[in-house]
């Protein structure tokens, strides 16, 4: 609606009560305070038509007022005030507890205790990068926060990061801010979109990122994984201004949103590493971020033939209760401001044992992708169970014949390249399947400081 207002056309938006703060915050981030809303008690989704009409009856006066009355422009989102905060306590421990209380009260924490971003530690962590502290790495949506190296470092510090982790977090923030990532959608959505991060190249080892047993944590071997993933979440909050209940409208939330970071198990992989497949040199280090909805185990202790393994894996992809399954039928994730479109990708963490079985039989990663594409298929009517028919009519007018052939089996993703393959984990036949939201983004890490 902002686009119409910009063009001189007054607007009013139906908005459910729960989403009022979200809508106002979003409009304010575009510099439009006082967005006119017609507030209804519940979202229209999942409501019978009678209930929708009653809700409209009750707010039609607000619709008219929003279109005809002059808008009182309200104050925009408050800018940062004091750059340095002073917190006192009878002892250092109590001052730290007070800091944690205050930061949580202001919404600056993820719920776990935070490390104090004090001057000396900040100077230390900044040694992890060659970049200047005041360099703006990116502008992070939805709040259009200026992601300076220093702000990233402060949040990384609060998460528990060490200097050698900082370049990884900076590169992950660059991934988040890439227009093709369309983070505005993923950060603010009612869905549990969570950034899954994987690191490739020599820096993964130098930063102590676990690629083996229990790589996704918890535990001491995954300390670096945990704090890097956590830092990225804190950056989304305190730099991107993604706050639960205000600009993150996730219906249920997910533990995956706290932290998800691994390194690819390159020594345990029989194939070229992920980053090499994507055009980077083997000695380069990269970070990849893929927003995902959830995880399903890829357990198979029985099979060693590739076709049988894929048959098992494909059952994870065949899940119509998962939004991205068959989403291509109603269009693609798109941000018209940048002209971007994304296909829905899924990420598969294949364990070294399964990977070795594939390789022994001569299978490449592309062979697995093609086999997944061929095998992960569902009936059209099942794929459309929870999707808007009119959206499918708009997205694919050429496929309307499918309504008369509902039993037609269709792939759950658009093409074989929608399956990302990364080798991760220890020695057992258990991988992980992540239902993705859009496409991953990869960035090379080039700013490693001298003290790492």
């Amino acid at each position: 609606m902002m686009e119409f207002e910009k063009r001189g056309v007054p607007t009013v938006s139906f908005t459910a009560e729960t989403f009022v703060a979200d809508a106002r915050r979003s409009a304010e981030s575009f510099g439009f305070g006082g967005l006119p809303l017609a507030v209804v008690p519940l979202p229209f989704t999942n409501q019978p038509p009678d209930a929708v009409c009653v809700a409209v009856d009750e707010c039609i006066a607000d619709v008219i007022a929003g279109l005809t009355k002059t808008i009182a422009v309200q104050k925009q989102v408050a800018s940062t005030t004091d750059e340095w905060l002073t917190i006192k306590g009878p002892s250092e421990l109590e001052a730290l507890e007070e800091m944690n209380r205050l930061f949580l009260e202001r919404g600056w924490g993820d719920g776990f205790p935070l490390r104090a971003p004090e001057e000396r530690s900040l100077a230390q962590i900044l040694k992890g990068t060659t970049r200047s502290a005041d360099e703006i790495v990116a502008i992070l949506e939805p709040g259009f926060g200026k992601a300076t190296v220093e702000k990233i470092a402060v949040n990384a510090l609060m998460a528990g990061c060490r200097p050698e982790h900082l370049p990884v977090v900076i590169a992950a923030v660059e991934c988040l801010a890439e227009p093709q990532m369309y983070i505005r959608n993923k950060a603010m959505s009612t869905g549990p979109h969570a950034p899954l991060i994987w690191v490739n190249g020599p820096l993964a080892k130098r930063a102590g990122i676990n690629s083996g047993i229990c790589a996704l944590g918890p535990g001491a071997p995954s300390y670096a994984n945990t704090v890097i993933g956590r830092a990225v979440r804190l950056c989304m909050m305190n730099i991107g201004h993604t706050y639960a209940g205000v600009s993150d409208m996730d219906t249920i939330g997910s533990p995956t949103k706290y932290s998800m970071c691994v390194a690819e198990n390159e020594p345990g992989s029989p194939w070229t590493p992920y980053h090499v497949d994507h055009g980077y040199k083997a000695d380069a280090s990269t970070v990849t971020v893929h927003f995902v909805y959830g995880i399903c185990e890829l357990h198979d202790f029985t099979n060693y033939e590739p076709a049988r393994l894929v048959e098992v894996f494909a059952t994870a992809a065949n899940n119509a209760a998962q939004l991205s399954t068959g989403l291509w039928l109603i269009g693609r994730r798109a941000d018209p401001r940048y002209g971007t479109e994304e296909k829905e990708h899924h990420t598969m963490f294949i364990c070294p044992e399964h990977a070795a079985n594939f390789r022994k039989a001569g299978w490449s990663k592309q062979d697995i992708r093609k086999a997944m594409y061929a095998k992960a298929r569902m009936r059209f009517d099942v794929l459309m169970l929870a999707k808007e028919r009119k959206a499918m009519e708009a997205a694919h007018p050429e496929l309307q014949w499918l309504w008369d052939s509902p039993e037609t089996m269709l792939p759950v993703v658009e093409d074989p390249d929608c399956y990302e393959i990364v080798v991760v984990g220890g020695a057992a036949g258990r991988g992980a399947f992540f239902w993705g939201a859009g496409e991953p983004q990869t960035r090379e890490i080039t700013d490693v400081g001298g003290d790492t």
Partner: protein
């Protein structure tokens, strides 16, 4: 007494400013755009709003719109927004949930 001197973790937002469009004061005789983002029930809401507004403003005219890009939520491209802005005087939308 211990004192912690801490760096504020909050990033300053890029300042953006946008003036709201000038309101017409009355809808009678106006062209009213009904913009559905394709989320379930939004079409029903807009159709009902049209019915209610037609009763109050018999001279108003209505046009339905949807964006051409997106998935569960569809958006207008800039070109579509330009076209719609020329075709209507005001827009009622279903945008948030």
């Amino acid at each position: 007494m211990s004192v912690l001197r801490l760096r504020n973790p909050i990033a300053e937002p890029v300042e953006q400013k946008m003036e709201p469009a000038r309101r017409p004061g009355d809808l009678n005789g106006k062209r009213i755009g009904l913009y559905w983002n394709m989320k379930g029930g939004g079409d029903v809401a807009l159709a009902h709003a049209q019915t209610l507004l037609r009763e109050r403003y018999p001279q108003a005219r209505f046009a339905n719109y949807q964006g051409s890009v997106g998935f569960i939520m569809r958006h207008c491209t800039p070109a579509e927004a330009d076209r719609i802005a020329k075709e209507v005087d005001v827009v009622i939308g279903t945008t948030s949930d």
